[in-house]
């Protein structure tokens, strides 16, 4: 079993998320901040990417998961597509848009780890697929435009 030694701090995750949201959603303004406490989400939606890392100690898979309410994911989608507030959002567009945000966050997290690595395509689901053995690494609770959102990092030990 490999040593789980990838180190990504909350400050680094916050910096990445703030950069992604400011550039892609908020016209350069920082409107996403760390929350004072976690919020239980009703009707939550998860978007994640996996990073296959070839560390010196051996291969390891890390997963970056974004979680928010479906309503907030719809707001993210409308903002990215620049559509009206009352315009319907298809699940295909919602999965595409929310998945791209996870892809950018995961891609930038992956760039922090100095090891050969591969990024998966994003997955968006109402259920977290944590059926394999995942170990918690880090999480960050956030507020964007008064709406809760979280980012968490997990790692999966790889047996050589």
């Amino acid at each position: 079993m490999n040593t789980l030694n990838i180190e990504v701090s909350k400050d680094q995750i916050l910096g990445i998320v703030q950069e992604v949201f400011a550039a892609m959603l908020d016209m350069g303004e920082t409107l996403i901040f760390e929350a004072t406490k976690p919020t239980d989400l009703v009707d939550s939606l998860h978007a994640w990417v996996d990073m296959k890392l070839n560390l010196a100690e051996g291969p390891l898979t890390a997963r970056a998961i974004l979680c928010t309410s479906e309503e907030t994911a719809q707001t993210i989608t409308r903002t990215l597509l620049m559509t009206d507030e009352d315009e319907d959002v298809s699940f295909a567009d919602l999965a595409d848009a929310f998945g791209e945000i996870a892809n950018m966050v995961g891609g930038n997290v992956k760039s922090l780890v100095r090891a050969p690595s591969e990024l998966s395509m994003p997955v968006v689901s109402k259920e977290k697929d944590m059926s394999h053995e995942w170990l918690f690494l880090q999480d960050l609770h956030l507020v964007w435009r008064s709406q809760p959102l979280s980012v968490s990092l997990w790692v999966q030990p790889t047996t050589n």
Binding site: E19, V20, A22, A23, M24, G28, T77, L80, L81, M82, D93, D96, A97, G99, E100, N103, M104, G106, G107, N108, K110, S111, P116, S117, L119, M121
Partner: protein, 119 residues
């Protein structure tokens, strides 16, 4: 200018095209949704520039670029991708890419990467 914008995400293609306009590039755009389409559309249409995502189904942007060079195409090629590690930048340069723009991007970062290669 006639440009191919490639990304498997329709939303991201829309954002890239919008950002190109914000950067002042009023170009004719053809969209591709995977690496195979990048290869086929480039050989069929001979664009002035290809702006491609890296991680796409069927073939990655890097695989498409390598295949294009092997097919004799010298189309100017740049990546717009969520991963901007030194390792990927080196791979991109070695394959013949002119630049790599990391997501998230802005109109300014597009101009900074694209203006120098327009000549």
């Amino acid at each position: 200018m006639f440009v191919i914008v490639a990304d498997d995400s329709r939303v991201m293609r829309q954002i890239v095209i919008r950002t190109l306009r914000q950067a002042g590039y009023d170009w004719q755009i053809l969209e591709a949704a995977d690496g195979q389409e990048v290869y086929d559309l480039t050989l069929d249409n001979n664009p002035d520039l290809v702006l491609s995502d890296w991680n796409m189904p069927n073939a990655t942007g890097l695989e498409a670029l390598i295949a294009l060079r092997q097919a004799g195409s010298d189309v100017p090629f740049g990546f717009v991708t969520s991963e901007g590690s030194a390792e990927m930048r080196e791979q991109a340069t070695n394959a013949g890419a002119l630049f790599l723009i990391a997501k998230p991007f802005t109109a300014e970062s597009f101009k900074a990467a694209i203006d120098p290669v327009l000549g």
